[in-house]
Amino acid sequence: MSALELRDVVVEYERRGLGPVRAVAGASLEVERGQIVGLVGESGCGKSTLARAAVGMVAPLAGTIRFEGREVKPLTRGARPHELARLQMVFQNPFSSLNPRRRIGDQIGDALAVLDLAPRPQRAARVAQLLEQVGLPAGASRGYPHEFSGGQRQRVAIARALAASPSVIVLDEPLASLDASAQAQIANLLVGLARELELGLLLISHDLAIVRHVADSVAVMYLGLIAETAPTPDLWATPLHPYTEALIGAVPHADGAGTLPDALPGEVPDPSRPPSGCRFHPRCPYAFDRCRIEEPALVELAPGRSAACWLQRPGDPSTLPSVRAASRLAPAAPAE
């Protein structure tokens, strides 16, 4: 039983006067304790929506979300059930995720009070311990958020999540608003915490390079669906989905070599009107007839590796260069 399990989750939301949009069209994911799962994708792929559904911030239209075996019910006006408190979230923007008018020590200590995790006299000590765990001095608890830098505030947000003694934390683009220095520091902190506290982390990010360093396994999302999942080194060595291949090729390398990154032709379609068949087919260099008609399901091709692509067969996953060679397709001309 996984710590966090999402199965065939569908999330829709209303757009004023334009009808509903299916931001997530059937995604499945699993996170174990002590494991870091990266969820990558570009704008509009639905990864943030999926993250919010995973913790109960939005209600899914279909599918199941289970945390430690229990169903995750969306938040209502009442208090969230205590059993779910061990499923926490860290948000992207460290400036808006902390209340500007309350001391950070109080905000971290909220969990201790609400969940009754420490009697009042011991709370200050526990807060100091949490601050130390994220690399901040104990004296910081008396400060207000505006006194800290972005990286420091993100540490506070992590400490706040840790205060609830979670077993799984969902992090929605936690590094996106940070400087390069802070990004590396916070990434290392997260890895350290996951190992030390046996936390499961679901790390949502658009930055593939960071995810490659931090995550144990990666899920790639495109237009509301999971395109591929694999252990991190395998994903980079042999991507099995054409979108993953394109994504990896588009990341520029800071090696001074002057290589231009590969561009992907076309644009991400409007999620309210996805293409027929495979959602990626209009931009895919390997697309053939079946791709235009039938939508491929996410199929397990080898232990731990799944892809949603008609080029792949279970038990015999084909690397894309070999597909290219076999069908003698010309390599895709770099687009602009």
């Binding site: 590396a184 593939l208 994504l247 588009a250 520029p252 800071a254 002057g258 992907l264 644009e267």
Partner: protein
């Protein structure tokens, strides 16, 4: 060959509630015609302010020193009217967020033609033809309908292409791009990088590219300048600075990046954070965070000196940290 843009001793001081802050502290660089010149640095490094100073776009109350000679004229000494004649025409700028740099209520066509009609005095038909030409150059699909559309109808990547087209309307010799791809997805960013590269090679456009993303610079910049706390710490060719970095900050930045080739689990982070403009440490601004720092580093600001074909502001040789210099 004379430089297209030569910046010497640029200093910018901004008023803050707590007193004046020096955000650019003595920057020198030269941009050669037809090259892509990269300026890299994190927030607070002064990279954006240094360029805003050139274009006369600093906030009121800012004090500027130094020289910035562009095609024989010192931009910092020009009167408002003269500067306005150059900006938009010979010198153009593209910003990070195309949503705020394009006028939301004017059609794309109007924004493109407005420029050429103002600066070049073209008639309506010529201007409209030029607008279509520009959209084709930046590869906007279906330019005939695009001219009548509005910015919000386009995606982020398309809007940035339109912003580039607007900047190119009067065929400037120098294009300054401030974080042009930061807000974009990685595949869209790849497209913009390729576009800039093609513009450089096809029309000989000179580009000053400012970004915190060393990967982007590594892809198209010819020469790179690394900014830290308002000063240049290292400058040189892309292969030298990014491939064989010498300054501890540059090495730190590159080490902190996830290397696609490295399988190492830990990112080597530079401890601490870049200093705020009012709290720059004495001597070398980077010394509190530098693992090679010595007593001398605290005493004087290391000058930017030529070393083996690049410019370096650090007396310590990272390859032989113990060796005296």
């Amino acid at each position: 060959m004379s430089a297209l843009l030569q910046v010497d001793g640029l200093r910018v001081r901004l008023p803050t509630p707590a007193g004046p802050a020096t955000v650019v502290d003595g920057i020198d660089y030269r941009v050669e015609p037809g090259e892509v010149f990269g300026i890299a640095g994190e927030s607070g490094s002064g990279k954006t302010m240094s360029v805003l100073a050139l274009m006369g776009l600093l906030p009121p109350g800012a004090a500027v020193e130094g020289h910035a000679v562009f095609e024989g004229r010192d931009l910092l000494r020009l009167r408002r009217r003269q500067l306005r004649r150059i900006c938009g025409r010979e010198l153009a700028m593209v910003f990070q967020d195309p949503m705020t740099s394009l006028h939301p209520m004017l059609s794309v066509g109007t924004q493109l033609t407005e420029h050429v009609r103002l600066h070049l005095g073209l008639g309506r038909r010529d201007a409209a033809e030029r607008a279509l030409e520009l959209l084709r150059e930046v590869r906007i699909p279906d330019p005939d309908s695009a001219v009548h559309a509005f910015p919000h109808q386009f995606s982020g990547g398309m809007r940035q292409r339109i912003a580039i087209a607007v900047a190119l309307a009067c065929r400037p010799t120098l294009l300054v791009a401030d974080e042009p791809t930061t807000a974009l997805d990685v595949t869209v960013q790849a497209g913009i990088i390729r576009l800039l590269d093609r513009l450089r090679s096809e029309s000989g456009l000179t580009i000053v590219l400012i970004t915190h993303d060393l990967g982007v610079l590594s892809a198209i910049a010819d020469r790179v300048s690394i900014f830290y706390a308002g000063r240049v710490v290292e400058a040189g060719s892309r292969t030298d600075v990014l491939g064989r970095p010498r300054h501890p900050y540059t090495r730190g930045l590159l080490d902190a990046l996830p290397h696609p080739e490295a399988a190492a689990a830990q990112l080597v982070a530079i401890q601490g954070a870049p200093p705020a403009p009012r709290h720059v440490p004495p001597g070398c601004a980077f010394h509190p965070r530098c693992r090679y720092a010595r007593a001398a580093c605290r005493e004087a600001v290391p000058p930017l000196v030529p070393v083996n074909g690049r410019a370096l502001a650090c007396p310590v040789d990272p390859l032989h940290p113990g060796a005296p210099t």
